[in-house]
């Protein structure tokens, strides 16, 4: 019984991970397609728009801001769904932190 439960739990975890990866892949595609990357950079590192990675805002915060931005960003009223935003957030969460500045010799010259 314990063994069955273990496998079930493992399956749930793996399934969730797979779903998350799928969501992130969809989020990455949306991030490019919806022109987010043009301002925020393909890895959300910032550019003309704000930096979003590492540690992106929560899904709720992103959904709220995208509909009613207060800075220079135009409003995305209906171009992306809440689910799309969640997927985009899932993608941004996969972007690793950059190397520390002290470990980049070119940034210490």
């Amino acid at each position: 019984m314990k063994r069955v439960l273990k496998f079930t739990l493992l399956g749930v975890v793996l399934g969730a991970a797979a779903a998350q990866a799928q969501n992130a892949a969809n989020g990455k595609a949306l991030f490019i397609k919806q022109q987010c990357a043009r301002c925020h950079g393909t890895d959300g590192q910032g550019g003309a728009g704000a930096r979003l990675t590492p540690n992106p805002p929560t899904v709720a915060a992103m959904q709220k801001y995208v509909r009613n931005p207060t800075g220079g960003m135009p409003p995305y009223i209906n171009q992306v769904s809440d689910a799309d935003i969640a997927d985009i957030r899932a993608y941004l969460a996969t972007v690793p932190a950059p190397p520390a500045v002290k470990d980049i010799p070119l940034l210490n010259q």
């Binding site: 397609k33 393909t42 550019g47 190397p99 070119l106």
Partner: protein, 648 residues
């Protein structure tokens, strides 16, 4: 071309014989049917040639009388040009300037000025624009009548807005009786300079050689008197080709030493008092440093007052790593200042205000209540209809109509004179705070640069720092703007010499980068500097032929493509419109991207005789490519590296 030995200077002679027509070599052919046909030949395919002209081009040489001119008027024109010390004449060859062209290369020996072959008149003028910003003096650009002037007009506008003197020479045939082929009519105009008049400081249409001499020297004087700007001189084709009249004394007018307008002593006393007693003075500079002396003076004044400086980077006004450099902390500096002095500032209103989100939203002043605003600008001495000349009206307390660079030394002396011990101590304390803040600002910029460090497409910060990593030990000059790569070089490089940065497009008109970089590199060549152009792809495609000019004239220039495969600004702008209109954003690549196919810039360069490599998409491949590029520049050759980059 064999000439009659019997000819006396300034007189015409006639050679008869069929062979002469073939040997004439175009330059000396004047006034014969064959010559008329040749001169009427369409130079640029603007319209098909007539039957007679076609026959003249394709048929056997006729037995003709060939008129020669031993000393055409254009020889005198070249003598005048040489007296001004002009190094280069950039042009696309033109029928309306052909006699001047021939005189430059033969009578003038193609030196001072040397003919720089350009593939578009826009490139000729932009090249001269970039050249001025390094050389500190004007060069000439030749424009072919109506059509060449239209090609060049945007570049003239850029130079005008950039306060870059260029002496533009425009071919024309004013006398209807002298226009022979139909092309003469197409390429001449009653007032050919009219198209450039609103964005040149002055123009003239000389009708005699003495008139040309005076106007050429006057053109030089006017374009180099602040506000420095382009000027245009119409060069009448018959005046170039006719012999110099025997009675003409060939006098070359004298170019005076040019003195720059400065503020009067009473005004300087008042301004110095304001600055010495200010608690938070601020200096803002757009094109303050016309020359290295301007940079030095601005540093001296800033240090004397321990006043922050906002360099708007239209020139290299202030060292990037100076503790008083607040260029990327501008808002905080403006909101806390009690005296703000703008030195040749292009758009002071925008510095001191924040625009609202909507077009109709009222801009809001961000200055401290009661802050005193002072402008020092030679722009107050001259204006035309172009809005760039005056911008939005700023509520200044004092407007000083003077050249800022020339005024600063006098202001510095007056500040020193008024400085008291108490004020000196307060100012030193202020300086300590700025010195403490500067390293934190640099650390923050470095942290921001680290985000996306390993990204592909390559981040603009990585591109910039890979370049600097190898340039920093060389004598380098960055010869294009950095605004589209988030200004990383100006934020992170140690930029402290006037020639290390020259600003960008004065009028924000595309088609500037490649030719202006070639012009700046041409001026840098004699100093052995490595000129580097981080070049946007959209701008590049307007004037790619400038690369050929660089190869042809062996101009050492490293071009590094900031290839984001789009007019990225426009992707964002059209996207904003779609967002605001509640419509799909994902279609905003239509009309704004440069893909399908991707442009192969390295191949394009190779096709024009410039060694090139790329596209590079992995940041690890940058360093060896840059090393090869720098090595090529050191050999005196142009080189191009195509780097696929992030949008900004």
């Amino acid at each position: 071309m064999a000439k009659s030995k019997n000819l006396t200077p300034g007189r015409r002679g006639f050679l008869k014989g069929a062979a002469a027509g073939a040997a004439a070599g175009a330059a000396a052919l004047v006034g014969t049917p064959a010559a008329k046909a040749q001169e009427g030949t369409p130079a640029r395919g603007a319209a098909p040639p007539g039957a007679a002209q076609r026959a003249a081009e394709t048929g056997p040489p006729a037995a003709v009388s060939v008129e020669t001119t031993e000393h055409p008027g254009s020889d005198y024109m070249v003598d005048v040009i040489k007296s001004l010390g002009i190094e280069y004449y950039a042009a696309n060859p033109s029928s309306t300037l052909k006699s001047l062209h021939e005189s430059l290369i033969n009578h003038g020996g193609n030196t001072n000025p040397e003919f720089i072959t350009c593939t578009h008149e826009e490139a000729s003028v932009a090249l001269a624009n970039g050249y001025f910003k390094i050389a500190g003096k004007p060069m000439m650009a030749g424009l072919h009548g109506t059509v060449g002037s239209q090609h060049a007009s945007m570049a003239v506008y850029n130079a005008y807005c950039d306060q870059a003197p260029v002496i533009v020479v425009m071919g024309n045939i004013l006398d209807a009786g002298q226009r022979r082929g139909y092309v003469d009519w197409l390429h001449s105009s009653q007032d050919v300079a009219a198209i450039l008049r609103e964005y040149t400081k002055w123009d003239d249409s000389p009708v005699s050689l003495s008139h040309f001499g005076e106007s050429m020297v006057r053109a030089y004087k006017m374009c180099m008197t602040p506000p420095v700007m382009p000027v245009a001189l119409v060069c009448d084709e018959p005046l170039q080709e006719r012999p110099i009249p025997a009675e003409f004394d060939r006098r070359i007018p004298k170019l005076p030493a040019i003195s720059y307008p400065t503020a009067d002593p009473a005004t300087l006393t008042t301004l110095a008092k304001m600055l010495v007693n200010a608690e938070s003075p601020l200096l803002v500079a757009s094109r303050c440093a016309r020359t290295p002396a301007g940079l030095k003076s601005l540093v001296e004044l800033a240090e004397l007052l321990q006043a922050p400086v906002i360099d708007q980077h239209f020139r290299m006004n202030f060292p990037s790593r100076h503790p008083l450099n607040y260029s990327f902390r501008a808002r905080g500096a403006v909101t806390t200042a009690d005296v703000i002095v703008g030195c040749e500032v292009q758009d002071f209103y925008a510095v001191l205000h924040q625009y609202g989100r909507g077009r109709d939203a009222n801009p809001r002043a961000i200055t401290k209540p009661g802050a005193k605003i002072v402008t020092i600008s030679a722009n107050d001495l001259f204006t035309k209809s172009v809005y760039e000349n005056f911008q939005r009206f700023e509520d200044a307390d004092m407007a000083i109509a003077a050249d800022a660079e020339a005024t600063l030394p006098f202001l510095i002396e007056e500040v020193k004179r008024q400085m008291t011990g108490d004020r000196k101590r307060a100012i030193e304390a202020r300086g300590a705070k700025h010195a403490e803040a500067a390293p934190k600002a640099l650390a923050q910029a470095r942290l921001e640069a680290s985000y996306g460090w390993d990204s592909s497409p390559i981040s603009t910060s990585r591109l910039s720092m890979e370049l600097y990593g190898q340039l920093k030990n060389e004598d380098w000059s960055l010869v294009n703007d950095t605004v589209f790569l988030q200004n990383w070089p100006l934020r992170l490089w140690d930029v402290n010499k006037h020639y290390q940065f020259i600003g960008g497009r004065g009028g924000e008109g595309l088609g500037y980068g490649p030719p202006a970089a070639v012009g700046a590199a041409l001026a840098n060549k004699k100093f052995g500097r490595i000129s580097v152009n981080i070049q946007g792809d959209g701008d590049f495609m307007y004037c790619p032929g400038a690369l050929w000019t660089a190869a042809h004239h062996k101009v050492p220039l490293l071009t590094v493509m900031h290839n984001n495969r789009a007019y990225n600004q426009e992707v964002m702008l059209v996207g904003r419109m779609a967002s605001e209109h509640g419509r799909p954003v994902d279609r905003c690549g239509i009309g704004t991207t440069l893909t399908e196919p991707n442009i192969q810039y390295a191949k394009l360069a190779q096709g024009m005789g410039v060694e090139g490599e790329g596209p590079i998409t992995d940041p690890k491949d940058l360093a060896p490519a840059i090393a090869r590029g720098i090595a090529a520049a050191k050999r005196g050759e142009p080189y191009l590296i195509d780097v696929v980059t992030q949008g900004r």
